[in-house]
């Protein structure tokens, strides 16, 4: 903790460190303290201390290490002061001794792995699968309960209960904060992969609000997948990483300067990130060669076909439909069927796609999905059924949650109106 009095610390800088590093600090504290709530509390104390000290003393060389050390000292204080807390968690008192010996030395560099450790804890099979994903988003990624509730379309209070239940199970059942042994690892992987993908999607297309993309979350998901791949070179880990990289490659092209959505077919393909695409393609091929490819790899393969097509028209739609068929063999999925319908429309003609979408819309879950109505509206527009197209776009707009999505649909509606207006 060297002081550099000459350094002027901008408050934004501390904000940035909080945004980027608070979850790393938190994961390490959870490992050291073995308690979520205490970790959360002392982490906030450590950041409060930083807000007071750093503007005076300058930002330490390794802020994460400083924050972990500071929080550790506060934890020891807090456990001592709250006798009752120590009674409720007898293991905490035992940890005080451990912590004190650690407090002599600065926090080490083992911090990177702690988030992975925490993911495996939150995705432990002894935790209800309905709880695993929100718990990871809350504890590992630091999403608010409100954001998670929106992503899962359940009330905030329900989501809060699930998270509390998950934390209590970890504490009371003695689920450890550790990376599973090699023999257990494959079993534990599926839940972890689905969590990482949900984190990516939350960042790639936030469930609501003004900003369509929150690249930070997507970067986090990609980083976690890379770390996981290093730890466990499994076909589906490659597949998932490939899938995320291929989506990520289009990030800049998928919105215009006003932040409005640009569809895949209208995107300026020269803006796609070729580095991401090349890495994604290589990972897909690697995964397919193992013969152990699953749903992530197949989805990545679909994305790779889009990535190598010079234009939408020149896309190998037949192969895309075939891959969606493979994907459906892994299990029924109305959203996969919706995407397949769009590919069928491109391969065989709009009427064929429309027929599938109309059938899908009879299902309740799909009926509430704005993209299904948006796809239907687009099909109807293309075959000149303008009044029905407007109706579908309006329905889609009423279900869409993000401002750019709604704006996109309103533009569509206006465009169809201007053509269909009798002159």
């Amino acid at each position: 903790m060297t002081s550099r009095k000459s350094v002027v610390v901008h408050p934004d800088e501390i904000d940035r460190i909080y945004r980027n590093d608070s979850r790393k600090v938190y994961a390490t504290l959870v490992r050291l303290l073995g308690d979520f709530d205490l970790a959360e509390e002392v982490m906030h104390d450590a950041f409060s201390a930083a807000v007071q000290k750093w503007p005076v003393e300058g930002i330490p060389g390794n802020p994460v290490s400083w924050l972990v050390s500071t929080a550790r000292f506060k934890a020891v204080d807090m456990i001592r002061r709250r006798k009752r807390l120590a009674e409720l968690h007898p293991e905490l008192t035992r940890r005080v001794a451990e912590l004190e010996s650690l407090n002599g030395s600065p926090a080490g560099l083992e911090i990177q792995d702690d988030r992975l450790r925490l993911i495996f804890t939150c995705c432990h099979p002894a935790i209800d699968p309905k709880v695993q994903v929100p718990l990871t988003l809350r504890e590992v990624c630091g999403l608010s309960t409100e954001e998670i509730a929106r992503a899962f379309l359940v009330p905030s209070s329900t989501m809060a209960q699930r998270i509390v239940r998950g934390k209590a199970k970890i504490r009371k059942a003695g689920i450890s904060f550790s990376i599973p042994s090699l023999t257990e690892l494959p079993n534990r992987l599926d839940a972890v992969l689905s969590v990482i993908y949900l984190v990516f999607n939350e960042g790639y297309s936030a469930s609501s609000g003004e900003t369509l993309t929150r690249s930070h979350l997507s970067d986090e998901a990609i980083r976690l997948a890379r770390l996981l791949l290093e730890l466990l070179p499994h076909a589906e880990v490659s597949g998932l990483l490939a899938l995320m990289l291929l989506h990520e490659s289009r990030r800049d092209a998928r919105t215009d300067d006003q932040g409005d959505i640009v569809l895949l077919e209208d995107q300026d393909r020269s803006r796609w990130n070729r580095g991401h695409i090349a890495e994604g393609q290589q990972l897909v091929e690697q995964s397919l060669r193992t013969g152990l490819a699953g749903t992530y790899t197949i989805q990545a393969a679909i994305s790779a076909i889009h990535a190598e097509a010079p234009t939408s028209e020149e896309t190998d739609w037949a192969q895309i439909v075939a891959l969606y068929d493979v994907l459906l063999r892994f299990g029924e999925n109305p959203i996969v069927e919706l995407n397949r319908a769009v590919a069928v429309a491109m391969r065989d003609g709009v009427e064929f796609g429309l027929e599938i979408v109309d059938r899908l819309l009879l299902q309740e879950t799909i009926e509430q999905y704005y993209l299904a109505h948006s796809a239907r509206g687009e099909f109807l527009r293309r075959i000149g059924r303008h009044a029905e197209a407007i109706e579908s776009f309006e329905k889609a707009a009423s279900l869409a949650k993000q401002t750019p999505e709604i704006r996109f649909l309103q533009k569509k509606i206006a465009a169809v109106r201007s053509i269909s207006k009798p002159t």
Binding site: E87, A126, G174, S176, S178
Partner: protein, 128 residues
């Protein structure tokens, strides 16, 4: 951390021979755990046909022949172990022969609150 492993299974699914080899294997596991300081207690239970259930309602004892609940799988034995975490408890539960035919339920023992108990030193000093 202490856990109770509750052994559930259909009482009729074992032949005499299987039951005996199950007991021998279970005892060996108990011995091994004991040598590692991870064993607290364990025992098989007699059949549910020997069970008696007691309830006290409005000060009156109600005594009924039979178990708490008639189910297809019955509680047939238990272990109390002291291990590091749930993963270790799961690994031990998976080694127990009944896990292959029935179900082993793992329940952490709840810690007792630290209340002053009227025994040992305190009572002794009060008496003198």
């Amino acid at each position: 951390m202490k856990y109770m492993l509750l052994i559930y299974g259909n009482e009729d699914c074992w032949t005499e021979e299987e039951r005996e080899s199950c007991m021998i294997e279970s005892m060996a596991i108990s011995k091994e755990l004991e040598s590692q300081g991870k064993w607290c207690a364990a025992s098989p239970l007699q059949s549910i046909s020997t069970a008696t259930s007691v309830r006290v309602r409005d000060g009156k004892q109600q005594i009924v022949d039979g178990p708490f609940a008639e189910t297809t799988e019955q509680l047939g034995g238990y272990y109390i172990i002291d291990v590091d975490d749930l993963d270790e408890a799961i690994a031990i539960a998976a080694r127990l022969p009944p896990s292959k035919k029935g179900t082993v339920e793992i329940r952490p023992l709840a810690p007792l609150p630290e209340v002053a108990t009227p025994e040992k030193d305190t009572t002794a000093s009060m008496d003198s």
